[in-house]
């Protein structure tokens, strides 16, 4: 079956050039993602510096426990992803599939918990633009914080969903034997993407959930 899909795409001189190009492409794509999230982080930083009290109050509305669980879930999924990449590079496709599926499961768990958090916010009537009815001093600024919360975690969740789709595709391709080495580059660059999404969460979690956790 593997002969039907040429190992090297027609524009490349050889496998190594293809691998170099694919990896560089993913790194550059991740740079654009850094700039993308960076814009949001900058806006957040500016408003947090302007309204420290309000943002602390907003942060207390976030469910730290669920966020912490999600952090552990996501870090673990990066671990299973790394194992999958390693297994694929070594040609152990069964192991690779297992690890990819584990990653899928953990990623889905993350999204499930996230959905739970969003649902709670809806029930508490603090979704900006939909049913935000928080009152009290600094209500406007707290609404702004919740906006950033939904914007940043929502964008992150969108990237997670895309990641899950890609990982699913990797599972299917591996099962069909299309990603045996030396054609395992797609899994390697999927891993890069997954780790990036994980790292974004590592920044999001303290910035959004842990602003005033000691009070």
């Amino acid at each position: 079956m593997s002969e039907a899909h040429a190992a090297v795409a027609h524009q490349f001189e050889g496998l190594e050039q293809q691998r170099d190009a694919a990896t560089l492409a993913m790194w550059i794509f991740l740079v654009t993602e850094v700039m993308f999230f960076g814009g949001l982080f900058t806006g957040y930083a500016i408003y947090r510096a302007s309204y420290p009290e309000a943002f602390a109050a907003g942060s207390r509305l976030c469910e730290v426990n669920l966020g912490a669980i999600n952090t552990v879930v996501l870090i673990t999924s990066s671990f299973t992803m790394a194992l999958a990449v390693r297994a694929a590079a070594a040609g152990r496709s069964r192991a690779a599939i297992v690890c990819l599926v584990l990653t899928l499961g953990l990623g889905a768990t993350f999204l499930g918990i996230k959905f739970l958090e969003y649902a709670h916010k809806y029930e508490e009537h603090i979704v900006p633009g939909l049913n935000f009815t928080y009152s009290g001093p600094s209500a406007r600024q707290i609404e702004l914080f919740i906006c950033f919360y939904f914007g940043m975690t929502g964008l992150h969740a969108l990237h997670m969903i895309i990641g899950l789709v890609v990982v699913t595709v990797m599972v299917i391709f591996t099962a069909r034997g299309r990603l045996a080495p030396p054609k395992d580059t797609p899994i390697e660059i999927t891993g890069l993407y997954w780790h990036f999404v994980d790292i974004v969460w590592i920044f999001l979690f303290p910035l959004l959930y842990l602003v005033d956790v000691h009070r």
């Binding site: 560089l24 550059i28 406007r140 702004l144």
Partner: protein, 546 residues
């Protein structure tokens, strides 16, 4: 003796030889192509259409400005016209122009590769462009947008009742087209150069596209976020930028200009690259100061990210920020000056001929110099206080974008037309339209410098009587300019069918793209070329085509 007949050399009969245009016919073979050359032509069709849409808006605007009362169209309509003229020209014509058309066509050819690194992503980027462009046109047709192409808040988020969302979404989507194009170019240039093609043997066109791609990749995502936030505020009335809701309108300006300033360098760097190819060819000389020209492209790209606040000197931003942005803005002018001096020096002791590409390139040097120099006025804080948001600024950026970039684009289209189409264009018609463009352009935009210093603000559908003479001059120029742009449309289309077949290297130019037939086969080269000489090694080339 006609110039066209003199240039036909013995060549392969492109009528029976297979090449990228005739290898397959039919709509599907074009819409599902992954051949970078066909994708370049898809872009060419799209951006040409957008150019004439944006140009039509400009014509109506200039006609309205013939009289001080400005009653040709209503105030609302005029405001929509200038907004959409700007948005369409910038996002749907100028930003893609050279990179997506000439870049897509030439980058693999110039490095000796068969295609770009990610051909399917390349096609995807065109579809993304079409999607964004369609949304923008839908917005225009269903009533238009009147926020100005800068979308300043809170007008755009709270006060404007025009179709801001579809337009903003259209621009947002099209941004991804630029990002993917830039990503593709960077990866291709890093990993797929032919053996022997070191960085410093690369044609300068590639250096300028590399610098442009860096800006695409780093800057465009920030525009995406700005538009996302703008959309969120408009739709959900959350207070990010509206002060009545606790937001900061200046934050929008910072976020918007953080991308939009580097974007203007996207709209000149590729043009500079084209000029760096044309001048050595038609002076038959290596370019003067290759290293300096190459590094100046990179320097422009880097410094361009540090000057965005010069659009905001009177916005209410801190005066100290103004000082920093002013000094950096002067700094960013220096690499451009270096290029101009190097291009001029290349002519010294050359042996110059005046084919159409050369006319456009020489025109570029003159007009870009004026446009760039007028930037020095704007960078001076105290002078900018007076001329900010007046016609002085409009004249400045049109000199660079139109007198510079569009002329370079046309020069490049003509220079590589034989390679792209396999045909020669009619030289005398082409020279005539270059002249018409040059004259029409100056008549249109030079009076606007004076109007600006006199104090005529921009985005005005009506103006005090004393400004009328200069406005009439400008409109007269615009009609001439319009004619100058229509003529090439006609003869280039004509040449596709009736132009004399072109040899592989009608200009006897250096560069790998000329080592393959015109038009090239789908795979570009039969065997991967090996590069052994420096760029622009014109001393080794035959003197002139017969």
């Amino acid at each position: 003796m006609s110039a066209t007949a003199a240039r036909v050399l013995p060549h392969e009969d492109s009528g029976t030889r297979e090449h990228y245009l005739n290898v397959r016919y039919g709509l599907k073979s074009w819409l599902l192509t992954t051949d970078h050359k066909r994708i370049a032509l898809l872009y060419l069709m799209s951006i040409t259409a957008m150019f004439f849409v944006g140009g039509a808006f400009a014509v109506v605007m200039r006609l309205n400005l013939l009289t001080p009362e400005g009653q040709l169209v209503s105030a609302e309509s005029y405001n929509k016209l200038f907004t959409m003229h700007g948005l369409i020209m910038v996002f749907f014509f100028l930003i893609p122009s050279i990179p997506a058309v000439l870049g897509n066509f030439l980058v693999p050819l110039m490095i000796g590769a068969r295609d770009v690194a990610l051909p399917k992503i390349n096609l995807l980027s065109w579809y993304i462009f079409i999607t964004g462009g369609t949304l923008a046109l839908v917005s225009a047709i269903t009533g238009g947008v009147d926020t100005g192409c800068t979308f300043y808040t809170p007008f755009s988020t709270t006060y404007s009742n025009t179709h801001v969302m579809p337009m903003a979404i259209g621009v947002f989507i099209t941004g991804f087209s630029s990002i993917l194009t830039g990503l593709n170019f960077i990866v291709t240039m890093h990993t797929m150069r032919a053996p022997g093609l070191t960085w410093f043997r690369m044609p300068l066109f590639l250096w300028s596209l590399y610098a442009t791609s860096v800006i695409f990749v780093l800057g465009t995502p920030v525009l995406a976020i700005s538009l996302l936030a703008l959309g969120a505020e408009r739709m959900f009335h959350v207070g990010i930028f509206d002060p009545n809701l606790g937001g900061d309108p200046l934050l929008f300006q910072h976020l918007f200009w953080f991308y939009s300033h580097p974007a203007v360098y996207v709209m000149i760097l590729p043009g500079m690259g084209v000029v760096s190819e044309i001048i050595p060819c038609f002076a038959r000389k290596r370019i003067f100061g290759y290293g300096f020209v190459a590094f100046s492209s990179v320097a422009i790209a880097v410094i361009s990210f540090l000057v965005w606040g010069h659009h905001m000197f009177v916005s209410g931003q801190s005066v100290y920020a103004g000082l920093i942005f002013s000094v950096l803005s002067y700094l960013v002018a220096i690499p451009s000056a270096i290029k101009v001096f190097n291009w001029t020096s290349t002519l010294y002791k050359g042996t110059v001929t005046y084919e159409t590409p050369m006319l456009y390139a020489l025109g570029f040097i003159g007009l870009f110099t004026i446009g760039g120099l007028t930037g020095l006025f704007l960078a001076a804080l105290a002078v900018d206080v007076h001329v900010h948001d007046t016609y002085f600024v409009i004249a400045h950026f049109h000199y660079i974008m139109v007198g510079g970039m569009v002329m370079a684009y046309l020069g490049g289209i003509h220079y590589w037309w034989p390679k792209i189409s396999g045909r020669l264009y009619p030289e005398w018609w082409a020279r005539l339209s270059a002249l018409v463009v040059f004259l029409g352009f100056n008549l249109t935009f030079f009076p606007q410098f004076i109007l600006g210093y006199l104090g005529m603000p921009r985005r005005y559908h009506a103006y005090p009587e004393e400004f009328q003479i200069l406005n009439v001059m400008s409109t007269a120029g615009a009609s001439i300019l319009g004619v100058g742009y229509l003529i090439p449309l006609v003869y280039l289309a004509w040449s596709i069918r009736y132009g004399p077949p072109a040899p592989s290297n009608p200009w006897n130019a250096t560069g790998l793209e000329w080592q393959t037939p015109s038009p090239p086969p789908t795979e570009n080269f039969e065997t991967t070329p090996v590069v052994t000489e420096e760029a622009y090694a014109y001393e080794t080339r035959p003197l002139s085509y017969v």
